[in-house]
């Protein structure tokens, strides 16, 4: 697979604070790549270096095989906090920003129509950005990031603070664009969003502490759960595995799915009515960072 981003030995300090420590990773073209970490882990700092806003202390960044300075028109960024001009209308914001990419006149109008259809922005186009709701503003941010049809879209916590409905709409749009070959790099605090990605990197205090596909991470860091129905506690106890017993069911924690299969094969009489669930991304995160992430706040 072709790599769209290649980062090697990247480091950045702000005075005493080592925000990013020697991280390396690459992103495949057309993939959805998630970048996870608690507040202050160094996600935004990495993104700033990725789009050329910060110069790394060490390390190299390649986007589309070049330094990010040279491929600015291939990258679209939705910043963690909105950076549009609050007093100006969405239309004006897009008009001026588009001009930086050389998109003006008819080309601008055409692209504006496309995006406003895609993101359903018709009614907010002529309203000042400062007067929009959080979700509407996010739509404007995304329209701005997509305006020049980038091949890489970087989203820094795009859905924090949005209602589930708006979140879904945004994901639908991103999903559609990905089908056309857009690569998406995302940071989020919502584990279910990360669970859909092709590759996940988890960083803590500026270091990569785990990475892989969601499946790999789940297999590596979480246990499977087998829920049994209609069993006696004493039968379960005999298996010698950690469990939780409740009146109606019993939960067994098993290393991984193959061990579970083996166990079931050896105990056909016990496993009559059961289901196997894999660990969740939340559990992965908890296991590797020792911290829990919940809707934008780490505890």
């Amino acid at each position: 697979m072709e790599k769209i981003i290649e980062i090697e030995n990247l480091s950045k300090s702000f005075g005493e604070v080592k925000a990013v420590k020697n991280i390396s990773f690459s992103v495949e073209k057309g993939s959805l790549f998630s970048f996870l970490g608690v507040n202050g882990a160094g996600k935004s700092t990495t993104i700033s270096m990725l789009c050329g806003l910060l110069t790394p202390d060490f390390g190299t960044i390649n986007v589309c095989g070049q330094s990010s300075e040279k491929v600015k028109d291939k990258i679209g960024v939705v910043f963690q906090s909105s950076v549009l001009d609050m007093p100006l209308s969405v239309y004006d914001n897009l008009k001026y920003r588009a001009s930086f990419y050389g998109i003006t006149g008819e080309r601008f109008q055409k692209r504006l129509n496309e995006l406003s259809g895609l993101l359903d922005m018709g009614e907010i186009l002529n309203r000042p950005v400062g007067k929009l709701s959080g979700g509407q503003r996010r739509k404007a941010d995304i329209a701005r990031a997509l305006f020049h049809s980038p091949s890489l879209l970087i989203l820094d916590e795009p859905t924090t603070g949005l209602d589930p409905q708006t979140r879904k709409t945004l994901w639908q749009v991103i999903e559609d664009l990905r089908r056309e070959g857009l690569t998406v790099l995302l940071t989020t605090h919502y584990m279910e969003e990360a669970a859909d990605s092709d590759h996940i990197v988890i960083i803590d205090s500026g270091e990569i502490i785990a990475e892989g596909t969601p499946l790999e991470l789940k297999n590596k860091y979480t246990k499977d759960t087998v829920t049994l129905y209609g069993v006696d506690e004493k039968d379960v106890k005999k298996l010698g595995l950690p469990y939780i017993f409740d009146d109606s069911y019993c939960k067994l924690f098993i290393e991984n799915t193959s061990k579970a299969a083996e166990l079931i094969g050896n105990n056909r009489e016990l496993f009559v009515d059961f289901e196997i669930t894999k660990g969740k991304m939340d559990d992965v995160f908890l296991a590797v960072t020792g911290k829990e992430l919940h809707g934008g706040v780490s505890r």
Partner: protein, 299 residues
């Protein structure tokens, strides 16, 4: 070229849409108007009246016209600088709320970004000050008009030149500012202090000698004086026409800073003009160098 036009338009629009910036820029001129309405105009009226020898008969209109032209010159001297500073605060605001990042991730050249602020500041200042000039002319016309056509042209040229001075100096100052706090501190200092040090609230001729000497090193001093000369020239000529002795007119001119002394030598209007043009050139060159230099460091 097209991009430069768009970024400049954006900056100009931001200024007029951002009520905060727009009204801050009008604070100093408004203070000045209030001072005139309450007592300054009486002070000047008395000074001019007593400056004309008793044996000469004169029309009240002459005194009114002289006071009004004096007000006009002060108003313009102040506005050209304070409006420029306030409008250039946009560049600081963009840094403070990270909007500038949104421009830096685009292919927009940083030289165009810097130039965009400079040109926009100049345009805004010229627009605001030309409106002020027009209103001022109407007022002067209604109380006593002694300006010749060439005076009018010279005043307009002064406004352009001083706006350019304001734009270039404020660009240099804003270059070093990057937070909201610094921004309000500077705008407060300029709004409160500039009217005073440029001799608008009170003629510099009444300042203690030490302060006056210090001010003679500042280019604005010559800007104020140039405007005074061009605004009041007609009125003083009229005084001479009705028989006021040259010495009496000269001392009046001294009292309102039409004559400025650098180390006890009178500075002619041609020298004032030169000082202003040279200052514009120097500040502009500094601004360009700062931008070129900072870009080199970042690389």
């Amino acid at each position: 070229m097209n991009t430069l036009m768009y970024i400049t338009l954006r900056n100009v629009k931001m200024f007029f849409r951002d009520k905060g910036m727009f009204f801050t820029s009008l604070i100093t001129p408004l203070i000045l108007l209030v001072l005139y309405a309450t007592f300054l105009s009486n002070v000047y009226r008395d000074a001019f009246t007593s400056g004309i020898p008793d044996f000469i008969k004169f029309d009240e209109k002459l005194i009114n016209g002289t006071v009004a032209s004096q007000l006009l010159s002060s108003l313009l001297a102040v506005s050209c600088i304070t409006v420029a500073f306030c409008s250039n605060l946009l560049s600081v605001q963009d840094k403070a709320n990270k909007t500038v990042n949104d421009m830096l991730i685009s292919p927009l050249k940083s030289s165009k970004l810097a130039l965009g602020y400079y040109i926009a500041t100049f345009f805004i200042t010229v627009i605001v000050c030309l409106v002020t000039t027009a209103v001022g002319f109407i007022y002067v016309y209604s109380v006593g008009w002694y300006l010749s056509f060439s005076d009018v042209l010279l005043i307009l040229a002064d406004v352009l030149l001083l706006s350019l001075l304001g734009a270039s100096l404020s660009s240099v100052v804003s270059f070093f500012l990057s937070t909201q706090g610094q921004m309000s501190a500077v705008s407060a200092i300029i709004s409160a202090g500039y009217g005073f040090i440029c001799g608008a609230y009170m003629p510099m001729s009444q300042f203690p000698e030490g302060l006056r000497d210090a001010l003679s090193f500042l280019p604005f001093t010559y800007g104020t004086s140039l405007l005074r000369n061009h605004c009041m020239n007609g009125a003083f000529e009229e005084m001479k026409n009705i028989g006021v002795p040259n010495e009496a007119v000269a001392s009046l001119k001294d009292s309102v800073d039409c004559n400025i002394y650098f180390a006890d030598t009178a500075v002619g209007t041609d020298v004032m003009l030169f000082v202003l043009i040279a200052s514009v050139v120097v500040f502009t060159v500094i601004y360009v160098l700062l931008n070129v230099f900072s870009k080199k460091i970042k690389k």
